[in-house]
């Protein structure tokens, strides 16, 4: 700026003034930024790591881990921050853009492929503490989910989840049924099998007529047999993954990093058709009545629904319901001959922007260690990825009188299907969500998924 020839003294003065103002503004904002990013308090020696997660129920467990880690590593301070799922990803992206993101954060399979392609994650293999990463010490398959297309490990397996069905024993009793009646249910997309018979029997209309009796009024239902978790978007994790997968259907053409989705498969479309067909039969609440934020936990609690399929991360939410004699049943077997649950796992990733990659790796290594995962397991909130952590969680749930074997048996039996890890997650969601909502509402036919699938697969053709 000073190298320019100024023609008039007045203009030069203005320019100088301008540069002073801009200079001071910049300085002020830098001070502000520095204030955000720098370590609080301690001047020099202590290193501060920011760790983010989205599940509020998990905060106490991870705070205990962080405390234990700090004790073992004097000079490293870990700050645990929690944001709700919606805010989490926006804040994370915004802070990564601003260069002020966390050092370590909980990562999700739908999101991390895009982070990898944008180069914002550090591969664990490159860092001292996590170099010798061994995926075999975790529950089978979990570590593979976090291997990028380049073969590098981008996440430390943290936990896993599967699907089962929650119910209220009192409601079952009123229907003249016992928990044993929910064992070994059979389902198929044609007539719904014994599973549909149970749902029908548990549905009650305003006159007290049950769904499998004559004169049932599907327009005036008081208790629905099956709770609604919404349309399920791209993966239907709690809504329909366990139905469609039990027909032998798979999301994509590969376990991980598939580049072709199978939403055009007749088995998938038949499963979706059966599920959302329950609305007209009066066995499941309509889209109109549950709206944009359906809550299967609340539907069970209020008696609006009798059977509430949900993920293992919600066990403690159901466990805390007042006046509900809680039971958990295994999801029904499908045409494939056994039940199939989605098998999803979270991971901890290291931001490429961290100032302390080695210390961050140390922390991530600790998060993946048996010690930390047993601490988290004992909290009885989620199933940690290490078998010892899983056992600790099972014991913690048992202490509260909750038998979680319907969730864990599926993993032991390997009756699971992996969460679809592919690129283009956000675009696929934006294409899929309105159509799935439309199918739930009844304004779209399941056959429209064929065109949707074509559109989705063309996303992969574009980018080699």
């Amino acid at each position: 700026m000073t190298r320019h020839n100024s023609s008039a003294p007045g203009r030069r003065r203005i320019r100088r003034l301008l540069s002073t103002i801009i200079g001071s503004l910049t300085a002020a904002s830098l001070v502000g930024l520095a204030g955000c990013a720098s370590t609080p308090g301690n001047a020099s020696s202590e290193i501060s790591l920011d760790y983010w997660l989205w599940e509020a129920l998990q905060v106490p467990g991870y705070q205990k881990c962080a405390a234990a880690f700090e004790e073992a590593n004097p000079g490293i301070h870990v700050r645990v921050t929690q944001y709700g799922w919606g805010d989490y990803w926006q804040k994370l992206t915004a802070s990564l853009v601003a260069g002020a993101g966390p050092d370590v954060f909980t990562d999700h399979l739908t999101k991390y492929p895009e982070f990898v392609s944008r180069g914002v994650l550090l591969p664990l293999d490159d860092l001292e503490a996590t170099k010798g990463f061994d995926g075999s010490v975790y529950q089978e398959g979990l570590a593979d989910l976090w291997v990028g297309q380049d073969g590098a490990q981008y996440g430390m397996p943290k936990d896993f989840d599967t699907i089962a069905m929650f119910y209220n024993n009192d409601v079952l009793e009123d229907a003249g049924m016992t928990a044993a009646d929910l064992d070994d249910l059979q389902w198929n997309p044609e007539d719904g099998g014994t599973f549909e018979q149970v749902i029908a029997h548990l549905s009650i209309d305003g006159n007290g007529v049950r769904g499998d009796e004559d004169g049932f009024d599907p327009q005036n239902v008081v208790t629905y047999g099956l709770a609604s978790g919404g349309s399920g978007d791209t993966n239907g994790q709690t809504q329909w993954s366990w139905l469609a997968a039990a027909t032998g259907w798979e999301y994509t053409n590969a376990d991980v990093w598939g580049d072709e989705y199978n939403y055009d498969d007749p088995r998938f479309q038949a499963s979706i058709g059966w599920l959302f067909g329950l609305v007209d039969k009066g066995f499941m609440p309509s889209y109109e009545s549950v709206g944009t934020a359906p809550d299967p936990v609340q539907q069970l609690a209020s008696g609006k629904a009798a059977i509430s399929p949900n993920g293992s991360w919600t066990i403690s939410a159901y466990g805390r319901l007042e006046g509900v004699d809680l039971g958990i049943a295994k999801i029904p077997s499908g045409p494939i001959g056994h039940p199939v649950s989605m098998y999803n796992g979270l991971g901890d990733s290291i931001s490429a922007q961290t100032d302390h990659p080695e210390e961050a790796a140390k922390f991530v290594q600790y998060l993946g260690s048996e010690e930390c995962q047993v601490i988290v397991g004992k909290e009885g909130v989620i199933f940690p990825a290490r078998p010892a952590g899983t056992d600790a969680a099972i014991a913690a749930f048992e202490e509260r009188g909750i038998d979680v074997s319907p969730f864990t048996d599926l993993v032991e039996d390997k009756y699971t299907v992996l969460y679809p890890v592919t690129t283009n997650g956000a675009q696929i969601l934006s294409i899929m969500q309105p159509v799935m909502d439309g199918i739930y509402i009844g304004s779209e036919d399941v056959s429209s998924l064929t065109a949707v699938n074509k559109k989705i697969n063309s996303l992969f053709a574009k980018k080699p």
Binding site: G10, R13, I14, L17, L18, I21, Q90, T93, L96, V97, E114, R118, G119, V120, Y287, E288, S289, V290, G291, T292, K304, A426, Q427, L429, S430, P434, V435, D437, G438, I441, S443, E444
Partner: protein
């Protein structure tokens, strides 16, 4: 008067001096520039620069984290072929039509009542109260009132023997519901603007009309509406622009659904920018919105002749 004449005569008689006395005073230009500098910096930083950058970004592919890549007119080609974009235009126009149509009529009625019926400050203030509630709060309150299961609105429908309505959850009802929530919030404010215009109409006109035996309705048609036209034009331009930009009411209630029923242009822009981080395409959509608003404003200005008045 006398001084002016004196000056005139002096200037007429004596040829203007080479250096007029005025020029001896310090030149104010620098001070003036300095004083408008803060505003200019603001204008450039917060309006011109983002505008230019936005237009530039609409020709790129940019995901925030990697560098923007120039892609020519790709985003615009994609936009023209994007059915969700055209659906968004349709949804936006539908929203604006319902919102502005009802809002203007109700506000005009309210303003005339305020003017002709009551002078009570209390009543006039009460009409403005919905505007004091933030958009998000108003939207959420109605979201609860009209909830399918728990809403008192639906409970009342049931009491009078009607079926419950999914105000926010059915594709047919979503846009009218959101539009009416906005009408509820903005009608008082709009009425106030129109009321200010009514105050400018001389009372003598009404007196004269009353002497001639004109009815209230006739006076409304022959005096109020024609003389209110410039104000009404201005109010329409402001409220239509605001209406096109509807976002908060939808974002906190339907989020663009059910399906795409309420995915208006702003919501679609937001989805692309902040959910999919496709800032290039979102910028192109924003430029389209800018173009639409410029056209709408120009046409409205012309049709309502808002720059002219019949009051002279």
């Amino acid at each position: 008067m006398a001084i002016t004449t004196q000056n005139l005569t002096r200037q007429g008689a004596v040829p203007p001096p080479a250096t007029p006395t005025r020029n001896k005073q310090p030149d104010d230009t620098k001070l003036a520039l300095l004083l408008i500098l803060p505003a200019t910096i603001g204008l450039v930083t917060f309006y011109f620069w983002p505008l230019l950058r936005g237009i530039w970004l609409s020709f790129t592919s940019w995901d925030l984290l990697s560098a923007a890549k120039f892609v020519g007119a790709d985003n615009y080609v994609r936009m023209v072929q994007d059915p969700v974009f055209w659906n968004a235009i349709g949804a936006t126009l539908y929203f604006v039509a319902v919102n502005i149509g009802i809002q203007t009529i109700v506000a005009l009625g309210l303003a005339v009542l305020m003017q002709r019926l009551t002078g009570s400050i209390l009543v006039r203030s009460l009409i403005l109260t919905p505007f004091l509630v933030s958009n998000v709060v108003a939207a959420l309150v109605f979201f609860w009132i009209l909830d399918f299961q728990l809403g008192i609105g639906n409970q009342m429908l049931e009491w009078i023997g009607l079926d419950r309505i999914g105000f926010f959850t059915s594709e047919d009802w979503a846009i009218p519901t959101v539009a009416l929530v906005n009408v509820w919030r903005h009608m008082g404010y709009t009425a106030l603007l129109i009321f200010a215009g009514l105050q400018a109409i001389p009372a003598s006109l009404y007196e004269a009309a009353r002497v001639d035996g004109a009815s209230e309705i006739r006076m409304f048609k022959a005096i109020t509406v024609p003389l209110l036209r410039p104000i009404l034009g201005l109010v329409l331009i402001i409220s239509v622009i605001g209406s096109f930009q509807v976002f908060d009411t939808i974002s906190v209630t339907t989020g663009g659904g059910p399906v795409n029923a309420t995915r208006v242009l702003q919501v679609y822009i937001y989805d692309n920018a902040f959910a999919q981080f496709d800032f290039g395409y979102a910028s192109a959509l924003s430029v389209a919105m800018l173009a639409i608003l410029m056209i709408v404003t120009f046409v409205q200005y012309r049709i309502t002749r808002a720059g002219q008045t019949d009051l002279n």
